[in-house]
Symmetry: C2
Subunit: 349 residues, 2 copies
């Protein structure tokens, strides 16, 4: 089956590019002695996770427990969940998961540490817990190195837990100084910081500039998207994920409407102008999405598509797009090679 035989909208991955992206970033991290722990939230597909591991990743990262369960079911042995696991139902699932895979998690408060400790001690397990540190994003995480050190000590003393190191997202210029100072204070308590986990795709090629970081979590590097393109982390000819759509209406000379909208491409703007880039008509501006329609302004285009024409979209944000599709089609040289179910799609808990 050829790409041209696929009905639209469809999410297509160029397998040559995917494999090259996986290999290229692994080589970079290997060269700098940084462990690769790719974030599977981008693809949610066990087969791609196995490709990343085969290339040299030390394990994977999942954002939610449900994603980790899907990946463990697929035989993946080492899973990091950099998320505060809160509540009895999730702690019970975490215990079950920790019995069958090598799991590590994070915490940024005493509440979370106490919950993890209670569950793990009762189960007779020892869970590595890293302290999440806010080194610039302003989302979760200890706000100061002293706060991180206090949490490290709390974890080290908590039954059922082991202090597993420090974690941040994303790695920024402030990460090094924060981590150095936190490690200094933690060492004063007689604890070692063996693992410092940094992350992010936009700055992925600068990971080596922060020598404190021992492992890197990137997600989007396998696919690329307009956001990663704008950040300069990937080039257009390396972007592997596209959404193939069909022009279903040309109501005016300047407007084309495609059969993909916010339920296909998502409304994520991430500071970009427009909702995606059209490969065949790069001057066309995808200025508006409704749920199942995407509207292009063609006023800057010399050539213009007709109803029935297919157009290929590079989305703004690949992670949310793969979460909207039930399956991703893998192609090589225009030929369909595989259809992967997005197995961890919708694993919100």
């Amino acid at each position: 089956m050829q790409i041209a035989d696929l009905d639209t909208p469809v999410a297509v991955v160029d397998l040559d590019r995917l494999e090259a992206n996986i290999a290229r970033f692994q080589t970079y991290l290997d060269r700098h002695g940084i462990a690769n722990r790719p974030h599977i939230k981008t693809h949610k597909i066990p087969q791609i996770a196995h490709m990343q591991l085969a290339a040299g990743a030390v394990g994977i990262t999942c954002q939610k427990l449900g994603e980790a369960e899907v990946m463990a079911n697929a035989g993946i042995a080492d899973i990091f969940i950099p998320y505060n696991i809160v509540g009895g139902a999730k702690l019970e699932r975490l215990v079950a998961l920790a019995r069958r895979a090598s799991i590590s998690v994070t915490a940024d408060s005493e509440y979370v540490v106490r919950g993890l400790s209670g569950a793990m001690a009762a189960a007779g397990l020892e869970l590595p817990v890293l302290v999440e540190c806010d080194t610039g994003l302003g989302r979760c995480g200890a706000q100061t190195p002293s706060e991180a050190a206090e949490l490290a000590l709390l974890i080290a003393r908590a039954p059922g837990l082991r202090f597993g190191g420090l974690m941040t997202y994303p790695t920024t210029d402030a990460t090094g100084p924060f981590m150095r100072e936190a490690a200094r204070q933690i060492a004063a308590h007689g604890l070692a910081v063996d693992r410092v986990s940094g992350g992010g795709t936009p700055q992925m090629w600068q990971a080596h500039r922060c020598p404190e970081v021992t492992e890197h979590r990137a997600g989007m590097y396998i696919y690329g998207d307009r956001y990663t393109l704008k950040a300069g982390a990937i080039s257009l000819e390396r972007c592997s994920l596209t959404v193939l759509t069909t022009v279903v209406s040309r109501p005016t000379a300047d407007r084309a409407v495609i059969d993909g909208g916010s339920k296909t491409l998502s409304s994520d703007l991430l500071g970009l102008e427009g909702y995606g880039m059209c490969m065949e008509y790069p001057e066309a501006r995808l200025y508006s999405l409704s749920e199942e329609h995407g509207q292009f302004d063609l006023s800057r285009c010399e050539r213009r598509p007709s109803v029935g024409d297919r157009v290929t979209i590079i989305p703004n944000h690949c992670c949310v797009v793969s979460n909207l599709f039930n399956e991703i089609v893998g192609v090589r040289a225009g030929e369909v090679e595989v259809v992967w179910p997005v197995a961890a799609r919708g694993a919100l808990r």
Copy 2:
């Protein structure tokens, strides 16, 4: 099982409110002699579609062929797909669907009409096709009444098709004049306009002001959301869909982070400020979403939630939220009564 026993994030529907919303709008349309053809893109759940039909809806509306297939599989007999069906694969599926249910569709170009005609004539079927008219949205649709009349004539003469009337989205002040003039021109060709399909939830209580419209398609009226609230089409105590989340981090005095982000609430802003409203802390501002985190600014709150507390979110846009969940939990008086799979979720083609 009680609401408090549900793990988060979870999409919860209050069944008393859902039933009341279905009944209230049906009563309004009945009073004005307007047929109700609810849009199931909002819920994508056959059981809710059956509730709408039992209340008096003449049929349902689906935005995609795949949604219509799911609904036909659930025994729903009358389905309108107000969308340009383009391409051989979809036309083949449309033929199969038209053999087992009463289907109508729309077209806004000769290309679409020719495609439908070829497929239906070859199958020996007669498909009602409505002309989509752009009466203000600026998306798809004939741009002028004359263009609509020309398409009506084209449909009427096309083998395998029957002219089924006129359709627009949403019903606006310009809808009446457009439809009157189109009907006048169409009548001059000896054709009758038996069905004029209007739609939209924000202006749903004004549907009767456009007497040309014979049926109304609303979707969000069953759930409500911040967008519908702002439009004045629903009141807060009637909103039936909420997303229950848990506070997983309180990194600073002014910040709370919940376990729902853009993969739970979507990034849809629809002109609103913030990504959702918190029922327990209405002064809290949901200012930022990442994929699995939502960030609240608590600076205006006197009381503030702690890690582990549950908070209830009214989303900006209910349709895209139900598309992100695999199932919706129906509750009555705090007790879980039913869990509905979102059966047509991800039916993008």
